[in-house]
């Protein structure tokens, strides 16, 4: 067989192997997504338990592990965002409890950098950042964050009440 023939055969073989492996890859990515969500849920519950027994460092360690674990591509961007934003909100709350508004603001900033949406998680981050700014002496900036939170909250409330109204006979 000529050199060209050998090259062609190798390429076709590589393509065939890639095609055979694709279903396995899809399976793997689904498993990775499920594992990531499950690990995040586990971290979140463990943080709750740690907080309940007053162990803030343990709670912070679990929440930090959650935000630092990269989400696989098979997890929808918005699903990963709400999970991580909620963890940043809790980390910011912990920092506020420990009297560190600057750190709380940094956590809130990181959460909001993932993208602010009209949902509970973004509103919570605006609230905790407003609180951190207010305690840190930035009253005007704090008001702007509270205002953002209230706008989202108002939209969610209208949607909830609107949905409840349409469900009534």
């Amino acid at each position: 067989m000529t050199r060209v023939g050998r090259s062609l055969r190798s390429l076709l073989l590589a393509g065939a192997v890639a095609l055979c492996l694709l279903p396995a890859c899809g399976e793997d990515s689904r498993d990775a997504a499920a594992a990531w969500v499950s690990a995040a849920a586990s971290d979140s519950r463990a943080a709750d338990e740690a907080m309940a027994r007053g162990d803030r460092p343990a709670a912070e360690a679990r929440l930090t592990a959650l935000v630092e674990r990269p989400a696989p591509a098979a997890v929808a961007v918005d699903d990963a965002r709400v999970i991580v934003q909620d963890a940043y909100f809790r980390l910011a709350q912990l920092a506020m409890t420990e009297g560190d508004p600057a750190r709380a603001q940094r956590f809130a900033d990181r959460g909001l950098e993932l993208g602010a949406r009209e949902d509970v998680f973004s509103a919570n981050l605006y609230i905790v950042r407003g609180r951190a700014k207010e305690v840190g002496g930035q009253a005007v900036e704090a008001t702007a964050d509270y205002h953002e939170a209230l706008k989202i909250n108002d939209a969610l409330l209208r949607r909830t009440l609107g949905g409840a109204a349409t469900e009534e006979p």
Partner: protein, 168 residues
């Protein structure tokens, strides 16, 4: 000599175009030994005339001139073939790569129709939203704790929805 005298007429006038062309080809053949489209009889005539003049031999200078012309116009066949093979050597693997890439893209497209779609999360209830509004307006610890408490319940619902969806 009058105008009617046939001897006064141009001897070339009666020649047909075909005859003129043949004459030109004959002249070329006499000079070069070949022509683009020589009539057979012209070549024969040229060969006879040449042979009668020099015994069929070209003068040395003329030989050199023709040889130089041949060298200049001749196409080297082997390099051309090598060039073609070079193209083939490129074309075949490139074709293989393109076919493989197309097959993989097709298979990936069939496997994963697009980016994963986000889960429709449970809607927050009125209790959570009220606690959130209070926390935004009231900076007391009590308001923050009320929000944290409402969030624990909602967070549980959100994780349940996400785990169910990604376990499928």
């Amino acid at each position: 000599m009058t105008d009617d005298d046939p001897m006064a007429e141009d001897p070339m006038a009666d020649l047909a175009e075909e005859e003129l062309r043949e004459a030109e080809e004959l002249a070329r053949a006499l000079d070069r030994g070949s022509a683009d489209d020589p009539p057979d009889d012209a070549l024969s005539a040229a060969a006879l005339l040449r042979y009668s003049q020099g015994g069929g031999e070209l003068a040395g200078a003329r030989q050199d001139e023709i040889f130089a012309e041949v060298l200049e116009t001749a196409r080297p066949k082997r390099p051309a073939l090598a060039k073609k093979r070079g193209w083939l050597a490129w074309l075949l693997p490139a074709g293989g790569v393109a076919m493989t890439a197309a097959a993989v893209a097709l298979a990936v497209g069939l496997q994963a129709p697009g980016a994963p779609v986000a889960v429709e999360l449970p809607a927050p209830d009125q209790g959570l939203l009220t606690a959130q509004a209070s926390a935004a307006a009231d900076t007391s610890t009590r308001a923050a704790e009320a929000l944290a408490s409402q969030m624990r319940t909602y967070r549980g619902d959100v994780f349940a929805a996400l785990e169910e969806r990604y376990a499928e």
